[in-house]
Symmetry: C2
Subunit: 700 residues, 2 copies
Amino acid sequence: MECFFKPKAVAVIGATPNKAKGGYSILKNLSLGFKGGIYPVNPRYDEIENIKCYSSVADIKKPVDLAIIFIPARFVPAVVEACADNNISGVIIESGGFAESGAEGKAFQKELVRIASTKKIRIWGPNCIGLVDAVNKNVFSFASPVMWKVGLAPGNVSLIVQSGMLAGGFLLDTISHGTMGISKVCSIGNKSDVDECDLLEYMLDDKDTKAIGLYLESISDGARFLNLCRRSKKPIVVVKGGKSKQGAQAAMSHTASLAGNRAVIKSTLASAGVIETKDFKQMMDYCRALAIYSKLPESFTGKIAVLTYSGGAGIVSTDYIEEMGLTLAEFQNETISRLKTVFPDWMPASNPVDLWPAVEQNGPAKTFEVAIDAVCQDPGVEAILLHASTGNAVMDLDMKKMSEKVKKSGRLMFCWLLGTIDAAKRFHIDTQKHGVPVYRELYRSVECINGVFSRHKYIKDIKEYEKHTYPGKIPENLLAGKTYESLIFDEFDSKAVLKKCNIKTVEEEIVLSGQGAEESANKIGFPVVLKGLIKGSAHKTEKGLVRLNIGTGENAKLNFAELQKGVGANGKIIVQKQLKDGLELIIGFFRDPQFGPCVMFGLGGVFAEIIEDVEFATAPLSMGSALHLISRIKSEKLLNGFRGAKKLDRNEMAKILVSLGNLGCCYSTIKEIDINPLIVTDGIPIVVDANIIFQQTVEK
Amino acid sequence: MECFFKPKAVAVIGATPNKAKGGYSILKNLSLGFKGGIYPVNPRYDEIENIKCYSSVADIKKPVDLAIIFIPARFVPAVVEACADNNISGVIIESGGFAESGAEGKAFQKELVRIASTKKIRIWGPNCIGLVDAVNKNVFSFASPVMWKVGLAPGNVSLIVQSGMLAGGFLLDTISHGTMGISKVCSIGNKSDVDECDLLEYMLDDKDTKAIGLYLESISDGARFLNLCRRSKKPIVVVKGGKSKQGAQAAMSHTASLAGNRAVIKSTLASAGVIETKDFKQMMDYCRALAIYSKLPESFTGKIAVLTYSGGAGIVSTDYIEEMGLTLAEFQNETISRLKTVFPDWMPASNPVDLWPAVEQNGPAKTFEVAIDAVCQDPGVEAILLHASTGNAVMDLDMKKMSEKVKKSGRLMFCWLLGTIDAAKRFHIDTQKHGVPVYRELYRSVECINGVFSRHKYIKDIKEYEKHTYPGKIPENLLAGKTYESLIFDEFDSKAVLKKCNIKTVEEEIVLSGQGAEESANKIGFPVVLKGLIKGSAHKTEKGLVRLNIGTGENAKLNFAELQKGVGANGKIIVQKQLKDGLELIIGFFRDPQFGPCVMFGLGGVFAEIIEDVEFATAPLSMGSALHLISRIKSEKLLNGFRGAKKLDRNEMAKILVSLGNLGCCYSTIKEIDINPLIVTDGIPIVVDANIIFQQTVEK
């Protein structure tokens, strides 16, 4: 990938002196920043913009490592082959007309995929705006050279964007509003070869990148993507487009790529510590906080001091802080005393700190400095949310001095800013230069504080969870001897398999006669359940084949007779212990088209379908990931015991999840495993009903 | 209130030539815009800024209807009395040092309250920044005169803000960024007399105001506030500060006012059609959409066409549209054909409409015009979300022409904008002048579209619901003959009262012996429940006094004997029909400190405390409000039948809610009524358990 980010010489195939064309912009952008050799290629010109122009890449006769291609799609494959033949390591194809367009375009793209896999060349694009590297001033893009005039502010956040127009639009908007500096913007387009994983992997080791934001419509290799995120020491923030049913349709026709299942994406991203945001700008707002505060002291949990000039804004900040699960720091007496030195007598000092009355007495600079000093010495304060106002002389603050104090004290600082447009832009840029992220909406500022602390908590939690291990070994030949010709194991056979994987299942027996049912029920102990199992069908309840609350042997006999009629000659009838009421859970295994084998954990029972509280992780699962998965459901507090019920033994539950994932991963013929419900009895989860579903018929 | 908004002459008490002081700013602001008489009052000067200065209000000797006061708190009460004595109708007190400060300040404010109630004068403030009226150029405020330089853009949104600093800060930020024009900003401060209700009432009839935004920390008279909101034809958007426990504490020390219970505020505001937002800027963003689109054609439901230059932004818009319950419009064939006239051949036309390939062929102006024409002729399109980009010549659009076309077609249009800072500000201001609200974050733009359609739905729903009526008459002397000395009726007595109000309760009897229990159970039919009721206690289950699933007479007898030991001499034992499993609901009545009598409706049962799905409305309830209340719970779909259960008869449910509210309102001794659960059996809600709790002992 080095050829894309640190080329020594670049060829521009499709360079032109016509200023309205992309081929001109690419050349112009190169000449404004790139320090290496620049070789325009176009047989129609001898020179463009005073740079010698070549008729073909073969003509250049000097070492070139990167070519940027902006010519009609039909000419592209041959040119890429020529690049490969002339030892060019990578090409960025920025022209469109490939998989996103008609059948012909799809054929061109297929050709590119073939070249990438057979020749020694990496292909970035097509249908993208390439790369903008604001730190190294490498702009390998047909994006408008207007950006140079606006001021291409370098920063430490890199973006990977699956939409060229968005990448370009946001870049211009961001730099001209002074929102933040940028390291690299990579527009990935149709991903014929280089994809988000290749770029993400590069960014993880890129010294100019401290946080990474991605806009993705599809994820080419979900498992690799999640592994990269999991091992990343840098914060990663994602906007995932194409989440809704309608959105996914749009994604298909737009980038010829599949959009994944919404819930799975959301949950697996969370499992890998990725922060997901709704809006692009929100993504960038998170990124600039996370780039600054990517590593916090171990002990930090999110204790915030709010310094404000408006009591109202202080109140609202407090609302947000509490809503998001952060804490308003409780001040020590010393802190209160220090604040009181600038406060009017009548005014009590507390958090949020309303400094306005003190500002009226002492001026803003002194008041805010005293306040910063006070909170930075308080061991109960970890982060400061400073409210600032500019464009109005009464609130001038020395942000440089204050931010240095805060940094020295090991605290974090965030700033919410109101003000007139020019003064605010200036304040915003200057303050961020001092390492304090600035936000224009108060809610967003607290959201971003929460993003920083949430990531910190994720890192700590995972470290703790990963102390636990469990092999979850799966026996061989588990499926041997089964002669079902259908694609589904009934619950008895399914549970037999699970039991061999050390998963606790409910006590049950196959019975062959009324007499047998009575004896079995007596042995198991009342109440029992009688179930009729039909080969190849998972729908027992709907067919009236589940008989609950059977309290006598006689009743068992009676129900056996009825069920026998229901299941017919090929069915089975089982007697099962009826567990006392307890928390119902649902778990499952399946293969996701983007992420591969996945395990699900969630709340079962009648309300499951209303509150839809299920989470996902990719398999195989470590014991740590399994414990993390359990902790991620919204109703987590239910697991800690409910109305007198004993709390769930999370270790036992995690072991089952590990085994379930391993089972699915070991036997590639398994398509899905549905376990619903597991009932938590005295804290232990026991499988009550289960079905294993196969990709193809299992026969031995 | 006219004296505040349309005074003929204004006195400025505390006027000063010292430019650093508020008394100067007030005078300066007046002289820059106010057309009537201006009378500075300060015994130390003969003239200020070339205006004759008076030593006291008595000295003016000309008709003055409004005085703005900015002098130390201790002098204020006497001055206000002098104003009243000199026939001044209203004063705006902008100085602080009152209830928000120490004991002395509280005494001064008390004095103001006394004056307002005894003299013929209205008092606005203290501790506020007064009024800024950008339409009439009446700035009665010490806010920085910088605003005149920034450009006090008139608009049709008025704000009522319980925080002076916020009001001032936002005003300056908003006008300088060109976010929107403003009609009136009212900073209400400590509300010694004039409060949010007085101002809201004025705005409802103010011809310059089309939408109203409020920031409130407390609501002085909840019932009046909700009534005003309910009768408002203008959209109202509220940010409520002091929602969290910690926030409420901050609110108390800041404005000496009580913050109400979070859930009650949220739900009662929704019951009155008020839109609640989290952030101030979000509030203003909603307001400017709602001011333009305050009334939609009856049939509109939220069908959106998205016109974009970026496939990615189209995809994400679709995600948001679906998430919020809006609909992506389905295009007619004619619309597709019209779009195809500018599309390249390979490109299918669908919604969201990705116009970039067409822009490349036809230029932006023509392409977008064709697209606007097409969607405006499609009967399936109600609103258009246009994505614009500016500061980059390739995307120049004629917004005037397009907005006129859209308006003529009866559609709504919203715009999401990216661009360089100056060009974007210009585009933003110009486009809003053409009646199209512009947003800088895509998510926010869809949020605001949703705000417009949600309000429309509220208006339609309420109209529909209000067609139903039910008197819910409550008999007199309901509580007569009860000799409990405790503050709570047991469930038997409570249900006896409810039954008399025509509320269906479960069949039950008091039994006095084992024999009686057996007979009663036989009569009611098995299974039955036996319960032991202890005087003055609502905790039966915890004490083991509830016996479920009693299936035989013998068992009833047995349980009677056990319960008798549990309840002791003063208790009661009842036999109750055990209803078959059904949806469990919870309803209740209580008196909220801010809103007065309230009724609650929500989901009961074991999961109730996990998902906390309850909603509120103030009592007495109309049948329409009761039906609306029922429809507002998050799990509404559960009410439509669940796993084969019959759907809830909402009319029956609403009648119970009406009666419950009336019962509480008729009997002022009732503090709370708790009905939990009601079980829905064959669609009919039946009260299974209930307790009436009294303010004081009921005895007759």
